[in-house]
Amino acid sequence: MLIELESVTKIYNQGRANEVKALDRVDLTIRENTMVCLKGASGSGKSTLLSIIGCVFPPTDGRAAIAGKQLSRMPDRFLTIHRRQTIGFIFQQFNILPNLTVLDNITLPLLPLGISPKERRLRAMPLMEKLAITHRENFLAGQISGGELQRVAIARALINNQPIILADEPTAHLDTRLSQQFMATMADLKAGGKTIVIASHDPLITDDSRIDQVIGVKDGRVNVP
């Protein structure tokens, strides 16, 4: 299994007055080269679940193994390195830096790897061609359309050739056409061998036939069909 969670609990602000239990003894396994949707209402815990799968933070309790590595008690530095090698993120609002060019945004994850500007561009070009944004290479991200921004975010998630792509409410700010375009791109990526986990409550995604598995998340617990 590529992603294995066993009795995972996540408590924010543990021991304080504002303590919140976001995940409660979650068991979950996701196979390689599948497209999974985490479905749930706002505040259900699906973003927290995505963050643990994405190695953003370790669980408070339980066992989480992502791409063969145990996250529990892993120091922040190693979590970062593992995340860099394994996970590509697509955020709800894309989180693209508007004052950087499209190329700079896409290649941002490669900077701390000590890759030269020339090599970074060489890696980005095929992705930009595939996602049809080559003509926007030197545009500032703040100057391009929402659909193009989405494709920049996807390219950035793929630039380091990570095996897992995580997307948090990726269609929340997109119209139907762009949402369908997004799903088509994800299906292509899956066909290319990637494992995709999407957190969403958008029916366009949850009801898409290309989704292999829909996992319900409610009140910090999961319902695996």
């Binding site: 390195i81 995340r83 701390p112 000590g114 030269s116």
Partner: protein
């Protein structure tokens, strides 16, 4: 591996530069304020250092002890017969009389300092010739010759002429041939100076041959100065006995209180800047927090993020430091410290202007660096560190 580490640092530096450029208006305003503060502090330090070191340099030639005669608390001419009285004191190597006073030039509204003494007895007297731009000091018996400072040359409008006339108290004229001109490095001490023979000085000021302005005492063993000074005081009551150390202390006090007063004002400005910088940097904007969060999530380590802030802070502060110090040097060396001159050298308008040799020591630069660059670096790196150590998701929410 090494090349990868270097490439990584180059990438981070490149990102820092582009980040500075993206926030150019904000950073430019910080650089302007930072440069202004460094300029003020460095200028002040340079002029204080120049004045202090020039004064201390001058004391190299000073006698160990100077004796002045006092009458109702004021200085008056000292009888030369005291020399015989004092020569019995053990440890005195030589006593030489000196005449010095001020000559007021009505045409120019300037006071010149006139001095006459046997310069051959001064410590390091052979080096005195180095203080001259041209010519020589008048010899002991070379009456009618005078060495002058640059300001005298200019005020008397001598041009290529090498002779001048001065009025005696009875308004008769006394002519001199200029035997030497002091160089600009010694301006602070020699700019308004006229050095002549004792006989010429007596003639010019109408001083009788048994009097002088003061007596200069050179001792054999510098460790005995205090004892000898005490013995002189006891031997000739009614005199003021000044040791070189006391004069040095007076100079330090004069520059010390002035520079101390202004330093307090400038350090307040520096402190205000550091507080402002801290306030600016500690309150990271939502955009900056979001950027840090994005970088973390996409795989940047906390140290990488700190490196960006470090480079940003270092580039801004070093740039401001270098420009500030350079402008300060220009201010002191070329514009003669026009902003601080009145505070540090007094408010007189009669004294002819003089040129300040700019002086700065590595220690001064390090002090300014420590009180400006380091706090600014801390004020940029620490808030970024506080933001970067929280989990990445909270930074982007």
């Amino acid at each position: 591996m090494a090349s990868q580490i270097i490439e990584k640092q180059l990438n981070i530096l490149d990102y820092s530069l582009s980040s500075l450029w993206r926030k150019k208006l904000k950073n430019l305003s910080v650089i302007l304020v930072f440069t202004a503060v460094i300029f003020l502090v460095a200028s002040f330090q340079m002029i204080t250092r120049s004045l202090t070191s020039a004064a201390e340099d001058a004391l190299v030639y000073a006698p160990e002890i100077t004796i002045q005669k006092l009458s109702i608390g004021r200085q008056e001419s000292i009888p030369l017969k005291y020399i015989d009285q004092l020569s019995a004191i053990f440890g005195i190597r030589q006593i030489t009389p000196r005449i010095w006073g001020y000559y007021f030039d009505e045409n120019n509204g300037a006071n010149y300092t006139v001095m006459a003494m046997d310069t051959t007895v001064m410590p390091k007297s052979s080096m005195l010739s180095q203080t001259l731009r041209e010519g020589n000091l008048p010899g002991l018996t070379e009456n009618g010759k005078v060495a002058i400072g640059r300001s005298v040359l200019k005020a008397k409008n001598l041009g290529s002429r090498r002779s001048l006339s001065l009025f005696r108290p009875d308004l008769s004229l006394k002519s001199f041939k200029v035997s030497g001109i002091f160089n600009e490095e010694t301006d602070i001490m020699t700019n308004d100076l006229m050095v002549m023979t004792m006989a010429d000085a007596r003639d010019l000021f109408a001083i009788s041959s048994d009097l002088a302005t003061d007596l200069l005492v050179y001792v054999s063993n510098p460790a005995e100065v205090a004892t000898i000074a005490r013995k002189i005081s006891e031997a000739i009551p009614g005199t003021r006995v000044l040791t070189r150390q006391q004069i040095q202390k007076t100079y330090r006090m004069i520059f010390g209180w002035r520079s101390g007063f202004a330093s307090v004002c400038l350090l307040t400005a520096l402190a205000a800047f550091v507080i402002l910088a801290w306030d600016k940097a500690s309150g990271l904007s939502p955009e900056e927090r979001r950027e840090i969060g994005i970088l973390k999530v996409i795989g940047w380590e906390t140290t990488d993020i700190l490196a960006i802030r470090f480079w940003e802070g270092l580039l801004i502060s070093i740039f401001a430091f270098v420009i500030g110090c350079t402008l300060a040097y220009i201010h002191v060396a070329i514009f003669e410290a026009v902003l601080f001159r009145p505070i540090l050298v007094g408010w007189s308008v009669i004294f002819p202007p003089f040129r300040l040799p700019p002086g700065i020591e590595l220690g001064d630069l390090l002090l300014i660096f420590s009180f400006s660059v380091l706090p600014y670096l801390a004020s940029t790196v620490i808030p970024a560190w506080r933001c970067a150590i929280v989990s990445a998701d909270s930074a982007i929410k």
